[in-house]
């Protein structure tokens, strides 16, 4: 089986996997980074979102063979102890219900704010509409993103 060197959360990993195995399953089942979630496998729900070279990507759509020499950040590596402005904002707005989709939502928000500290409502809306939350926490996600924007622009 081929071997791939991956940089995840600023750490080097060497994994053995079929080249077509999506990054999602490498993270979850080989590296035990289960904060990245399986939701659909077809880029329709956003639960598997990670940050790759500063972009939010669906890890279910990235074969591991295409992830070498990329800088990958998962929810486990978003901050040392949950103090990323997005995590703090999510905490303040008490966003999660079941919480399953929230790592993906936060990774998308973090990538968006990493590139643009003052995104317009249209940008926020088009970015966050890549994600589904069946519990319906959109109202609070919106609130949390605005809290995070305020925080990073202080």
């Amino acid at each position: 089986m081929p071997n791939f060197k991956l940089n995840i959360n600023n750490k080097e990993y060497s994994v053995e996997a079929e080249a077509d195995m999506p990054l999602l399953w490498v993270l979850r089942d080989i590296l035990d980074l289960t904060g990245t979630k399986y939701g659909c496998g077809v880029a329709s729900c956003g639960a598997c979102t990670v940050i790759m070279d500063e972009n939010a990507v669906f890890s279910c759509q990235r074969p591991v063979g295409a992830c070498v020499n990329k800088k990958i950040i998962t929810i486990e590596g978003l901050s040392e102890d949950g103090n990323h402005p997005v995590q703090k904002a999510w905490q303040k707005a008490k966003v999660p219900q079941c919480g399953y989709c929230q790592p993906g939502q936060m990774m998308r928000a973090a990538a968006m704010l990493g590139k643009n500290k003052k995104p317009t409502d249209e940008t926020i809306s088009s970015e966050m509409s890549n994600h589904l939350c069946r519990c319906g926490t959109y109202h609070r996600i919106k609130e949390a993103i605005h809290i995070a924007i305020e925080e990073i622009n202080k």
Binding site: M1, C40, A47, P96, Q97, C98, M106, R134, G136, T137
Partner: protein, 735 residues
């Protein structure tokens, strides 16, 4: 050695205790008056609900299954309130399966807080009383000179304090008090205060373990292809290509089952990793015998409903007075329809099973674990006592895991390999093979008297009962009538409601808000239709039939639910006031109202929704106002979250949620075809609370039923009356 013995013996299984009894710990006789710290032990656990160790760590065990509704916070808050402990010092854990009496792990129907409130207060108060007695013994004073405060017992004479952790050994040896005094609610410090979810930090850092994240030593992975038609059988499978996929261990097949769970016949690929299993599944070449009921469609079902609706209902559900006196003159009638719906939890269904000899061990989320164990025992041939269950956190449930066909499947697969197996349903499986919320059709008729008043109300509900699935066709008492039966809250002198069940070959199940949601849409829409037809104000028309009606029991049985028209009116008035019902509206702005009682959870809610009409059948939701009366609120923020999320859930099904069937197969197969509400479609929502001293009601479902009728009533005010959900089908569009 001694330490361990005491720790273990203190803890007893409570499954043998009768309903409603207090929890009882273990007492070592004759050692009640040991002085601190003459005796060592590990922890004090006076009931299955809490444990305090000698370092002072307080663990509260949550007996109800968490799936996002917040029981992992609200229930421990109740214990902590009586125990007098700061909530930030509380650790919560899932109550291990089997530590509670039968039925107590069951989670559904918004019942958790309602049914556990007093019992959990008692659990906290008993522990507190024992800790106080232990401290009084140490100080050699009367317990009445001691008080509990913030995790310590205080000597009220000397102001000396002992931490709970330093009292656990003494407390563990005391007899359980037969009766304890509960706090006066006016002294509550925690109940009624918005509290963050107990697992919030884990969720935000990706550390939370849902069922799908659990790993068991030596575990392998499986996905399955299932017969597309319910109750079909496997004829043959060619797995040659599938077996060549690297990582595949084995391809196995299993038979379906009938009631209650209707496991479909399946072929499972077992592999060292889930990706190999998913790839190999696509290469299976399977021949099914679909049986004779393989040509049904949702179109044909609704045609059957329509035809059957012209006949008398199969069963009479509620009758009062004589509706026939008004059945010809000035009769108003309308019919409404609602589709099948899928739960579509974000965490795809999954389950782990391991079979060893004559026993099996299970890991995963179950809302009704006792029923699951009984059924696995029957279907798979294990004695109940040889089935070990490890309950898991669920990434959404909404009733999906009241059903457990996936657990039976996992065991059937695990019986064919000597390793633990994690079965994952792919999203396509989830949408295609669900127990769907039943489709229904409603015919309503209103008779008007000479004074232009609503004098007669007829409601014929035609549905595809869940009970036909769980109990077999012809199941008695199959009527799904909550929200439209004896609890019908409007004061109409003559009422006749009936039900007709129609069989249909896809599986059905309970989905969030169940019958009440299904029946509120036609009831609250039709009330509005009648008001408009009679040229009456829809708010005043409703109030005139609610405010003059006293609370009433909905049956003769001792536990029969009580309906409170006054509280139904109360939430409606609040919602109407907050949205400015009587104020002048902007051009092209329209408001719709709806109210209801979520009767079996003792809670009430109304919605007022304002839309702006942007063009023919094109609208924007401008404002959403919800009003709720759920009595005492344990965690206000949790209640708000449920109301906000419940609105989103209900808006999905109002706008676009629909499962269709062709050739007895579900057509939708994922989120591209079974669309859910997204971020850009979520309107702002305001929630207002009717505050009172009523006992706590349930909040997980009450926020749904009035969303569809309120929005549809707003559209009706704008000139369009939707009578079929989802409204997208009728050409409505929104921004």
């Amino acid at each position: 050695m001694k330490k361990e013995t005491i720790g273990r013996r203190q803890f007893i299984k409570l499954s043998s205790l009768s309903t409603g009894s207090l929890m009882i710990g273990f007492m070592v006789p004759g050692l009640q008056s040991l002085a601190l710290p003459a005796f060592d032990c590990e922890f004090f656990q006076p009931s299955a609900y809490l444990k305090i160790d000698k370092k002072g760590k307080v663990t509260i065990y949550v007996g109800k299954q968490e799936s996002g509704q917040g029981v992992d916070t609200a229930l421990p808050m109740i214990v902590a309130e009586e125990l007098e402990i700061d909530f930030k010092d509380v650790h919560t854990e899932i109550a291990p399966y089997g530590t509670l009496k039968e039925g107590e792990h069951d989670t559904g129907g918004s019942q958790s807080v309602m049914t556990m409130y007093t019992q959990l207060r008692n659990a906290g108060a008993i522990a507190k009383a024992m800790l106080i007695t232990a401290a009084a013994n140490v100080w050699k004073i009367n317990a009445s000179s001691c008080a509990a405060d913030n995790g310590e017992v205080v000597n009220t004479n000397s102001n000396k304090r002992i931490k709970y952790g330093d009292l656990v050994c003494q407390a563990a040896l005391l007899p359980i008090p037969a009766a304890v005094t509960l706090k006066n609610p006016k002294d509550f410090k925690l109940i009624g205060k918005s509290t963050s979810r107990s697992n919030l930090n884990e969720v935000l850092t990706g550390k939370t373990k849902y069922g799908i994240d659990i790993k068991v030593d030596g575990m392998v992975y499986a996905v399955a292809e299932r017969c597309p038609v319910l109750d079909g059988v496997l004829v043959s499978v060619d797995d040659t290509a599938a077996k060549k996929v690297p990582g595949v261990i084995k391809v196995v097949s299993y038979k379906g089952t009938g009631a209650p769970m209707h496991v479909r016949a399946g072929v499972a690929v077992i592999a060292t990793n889930i990706w190999s299993a998913m790839k190999a599944k696509k290469m299976l070449n399977i021949t099914w015998d679909e049986g004779k009921k393989n040509k049904e469609t949702t179109e044909s079902l609704f045609k059957t409903f329509e035809e059957r609706s012209r006949l008398k209902p199969q069963m009479e559900v509620f009758k009062k007075g004589d509706v026939t006196k008004f059945s010809t003159k000035n009769e108003i009638s309308a019919s409404y329809s609602e589709p099948f719906l899928a739960h579509a939890t974000m965490e795809p269904v999954n389950f782990i099973a391991s079979v060893k000899g004559d026993g099996c061990e299970l890991w995963g989320g179950l809302q009704l674990p006792d029923w699951a164990v009984n059924t696995v025992s029957k279907e798979c041939g294990f004695k109940k006592e040889n089935i070990k269950v490890n309950l898991a956190l669920m990434g959404g449930a909404f009733g999906r895991r009241l059903h457990f066909e996936f657990a039976i499947e996992a065991v059937k697969i695990a019986q064919q390999i000597d390793k633990p197996v994690k079965l994952i349903w792919e999203r396509t499986d989830d949408i295609r093979f669900q127990p769907y919320r039943p489709a229904t059709y409603h015919v309503l008729k209103a008779g008007i008297d000479d004074n232009n008043n609503l004098a007669a109300w007829q409601h014929h509900v035609l549905g595809t009962p869940v009970a036909y699935m769980t109990d077999g066709p012809g199941a008695k008492d199959a009527a799904e009538m909550d929200g439209a039966d004896a609890g019908f809250c409007y004061n109409v002198p003559n009422i006749n409601t009936g039900y007709t069940g129609v069989d249909f070959n896809i599986n059905r199940g309970w989905l969030r808000s169940v019958d009440i949601c299904v029946n509120s849409f036609p009831v609250e829409s039709f009330i509005d239709e009648v008001a408009l037809k009679l040229k009456k104000d829809p708010l005043q028309f409703r109030l005139s039939m609610l405010e003059n009606k006293p609370d009433f029991k909905t049956g003769d049985a001792p536990g029969a639910a009580v309906q409170s028209p006054a509280r139904v009116a109360g939430v409606l008035k609040l919602a109407a006031e907050k949205i400015g019902w009587t104020e002048k509206r902007k051009p092209n702005h329209f408001i719709g109202l709806a109210t209801h009682s979520f009767i079996f959870a003792k809670s009430y809610a109304a919605h007022a929704i304002e839309i702006e009409l942007l063009g023919p059948k094109k609208f924007k939701i401008v404002r959403v106002v919800a009003a709720i009366d759920c009595g005492l609120v344990i965690n206000p923020d949790g209640m708000l979250n449920q109301m906000e999320g419940g609105f989103a859930f209900a808006l999905t099904q109002t706008l676009k949620g629909e499962i269709t069937v062709s050739d007895s197969r579900v057509v939708e197969d994922g989120f591209f075809s079974y669309e859910l509400l997204r971020y850009d479609e979520m309107p702002p929502i305001e929630i207002y609370v009717v505050e009172n001293k009523e006992e706590p009601g349930g909040v997980g479902e009450v926020g749904l039923p009035t969303v569809a009728p309120a929005l549809c009533n707003a559209l009706a005010a704008a000139g369009y009356r939707p009578r079929s959900l989802p409204i997208r089908k009728d050409g409505f569009t929104w921004v």
